[in-house]
């Protein structure tokens, strides 16, 4: 694989894995935030939004501290025999997950809070267990939220850059993703290459998004307005 395609592949892998992980992690958090009455609800909601507030590079710097050999997380991963996370793909994924968490949780929480309680009650009287209800009622009703969450998360991880730069160390084939590559080209005045990569990324993303929205529109066909 040529280095360019390696970078593209790595980028898609990172964005894909991050999005998938966040859907799994974010959904229960969002559900709890939307439905619970626990007093910790609001504080947790506020904490979830915090990664957004810090500049990505700065967030990356703190993650570097935390996950480094002298950081809390680093000490832990070392004792677990996992080594340290910075400059590894796993480290990138973890950093991206933390940074993109709000983009997953907020839209989901949002749409979960608009799911009609009555529908859950009906499902319960039709023998659906809580988990079953979640999959058979909440997820279909909350589909626009899932779409938004996935799109925001994926796109944001694609474009995400500060954190990745800091945690990744720009190792070709391991942690150099497209955003970093484009950035490099801009920094070094290789504008033609930058235009090419940026243009390709835009066109590709546009097509992916368009396809997603068209499929979603087809599925909806007016059904979610009721």
């Amino acid at each position: 694989m040529s280095p360019e395609w390696q970078t593209v592949w790595l980028t898609l892998k990172l964005a894909g894995i991050t999005t998938a992980l966040l859907m799994v992690i974010g959904t229960p958090i969002a559900w709890w935030l939307a439905r619970s009455n626990h007093w910790l609800r609001q504080p947790v909601a506020a904490i979830v939004a915090l990664p957004l507030v810090l500049p990505p590079t700065v967030l990356g710097f703190y993650l570097l501290l935390l996950m480094g050999p002298e950081g809390i997380v680093g000490t832990l991963t070392k004792t677990l025999g996992l080594g340290t996370l910075p400059f590894t793909f796993a480290g990138l994924v973890i950093a991206s997950v933390i940074y993109s968490l709000p983009f997953t949780v907020q839209p989901l929480q949002n749409v979960f809070s608009t799911v009609n309680e009555r529908m859950l009650e009906v499902a319960a009287t039709l023998r659906a267990s809580p988990l079953d209800r979640f999959f058979s009622v909440v997820i279909p009703l909350a589909r626009p939220g899932f779409l938004t969450a996935a799109v925001l998360t994926f796109a944001h991880t694609l474009g995400e850059f500060g954190v990745v730069l800091m945690i990744g160390g720009n190792i070709p084939g391991e942690t150099r993703v497209l955003s970093v590559a484009i950035y490099d080209h801009v920094e070094t005045l290789e504008y033609a290459k930058a235009h090419l990569l940026a243009g390709g990324m835009l066109v590709f993303s546009f097509l992916v998004l368009l396809t997603l929205y068209l499929i979603n529109g087809r599925l909806n066909n007016g059904n979610l307005k009721s």
Partner: protein, 231 residues
């Protein structure tokens, strides 16, 4: 008057100090924006309101002279960077070349040779030691020399090539090896008067001041060399 300076990040502290002196000496004030050389270049090309550019290389000032964003003939090397192999752990190495050759470490940090002059110098050093290929797999690249420093300072890389200007004697002890300047091309940092500053008296005054003996002393204190004969 006021001069607006665009300064490469690695020269940040020195520039702050210089502008204080400059103000005392001339009564002119200065407003300093920092950034990587590449970014500042792009901004200046697209109308950024800077009078003087203190780059981290000679390539970009040279380009500017050619494409008319700067005043030809005002370019000169104000400082020469010094490359250091550094590790915060004093035990890390005693013989730096052996240390590099043995390669008993997971990560070695350098600045990105494409974007940062110190990175280029670091790569040349490794090439001259004949270690570039051997160490390629262990290199992590900081986007700027500052990021490279952070990789090392946080312990995530065992050692790294940083700028001498970044090390404080007081608390950045550890093991260090000042790379002899024979191992790499000189890291000549050049300054230039920008088109926007052509008629700014303060801008010209700043450049004059930057070349003065007083300024050169300060620059040296911050870990740079002064070129023997300014070009």
């Amino acid at each position: 008057g006021e001069v607006r300076l665009a300064v490469a990040t690695n020269f940040h502290e020195a520039a702050e100090r210089l502008s204080e002196q400059f103000a005392e000496a001339t009564g002119h004030s200065s407003r300093i924006s920092y950034g990587s050389t590449g970014k500042l270049y792009a901004q200046i090309r697209h109308g950024a309101p800077f009078d003087v550019f203190l780059a981290a290389d000679q390539e970009r000032p040279h380009l500017m002279e050619q494409n008319g964003s700067a005043v030809p003939g005002t370019r000169f090397t104000y400082a020469v960077g010094k490359l250091v192999l550094w590790s915060p752990d004093p035990e890390a190495f005693t013989d730096p070349v052996a240390f590099l050759r043995e390669g008993n470490f997971r990560r070695l940090a350098i600045a990105n040779p494409k974007t940062a002059p110190y990175g280029l110098a670091a790569r040349q050093t490794l090439e001259n030691l004949g270690l570039r290929a051997a160490l390629e797999g262990k290199l992590v690249r900081g986007e700027s020399i500052a990021q490279t420093f952070q990789f090392v300072a946080t312990g995530n890389a065992r050692a790294g090539f940083v700028a001498l200007a970044q090390l404080r004697d007081d608390h950045d002890g550890g093991a260090r090896w000042e790379v002899p300047d024979t191992y790499h091309d000189p890291i000549a940092q050049q300054a230039i008067l920008l088109e926007r500053g052509r008629d700014n008296e303060a801008a010209r005054a700043w450049l004059e001041f930057l070349a003065s003996r007083e300024a050169q002393d300060i620059i040296r204190q911050y870990g740079y060399d002064i070129p023997q004969s300014p070009e």
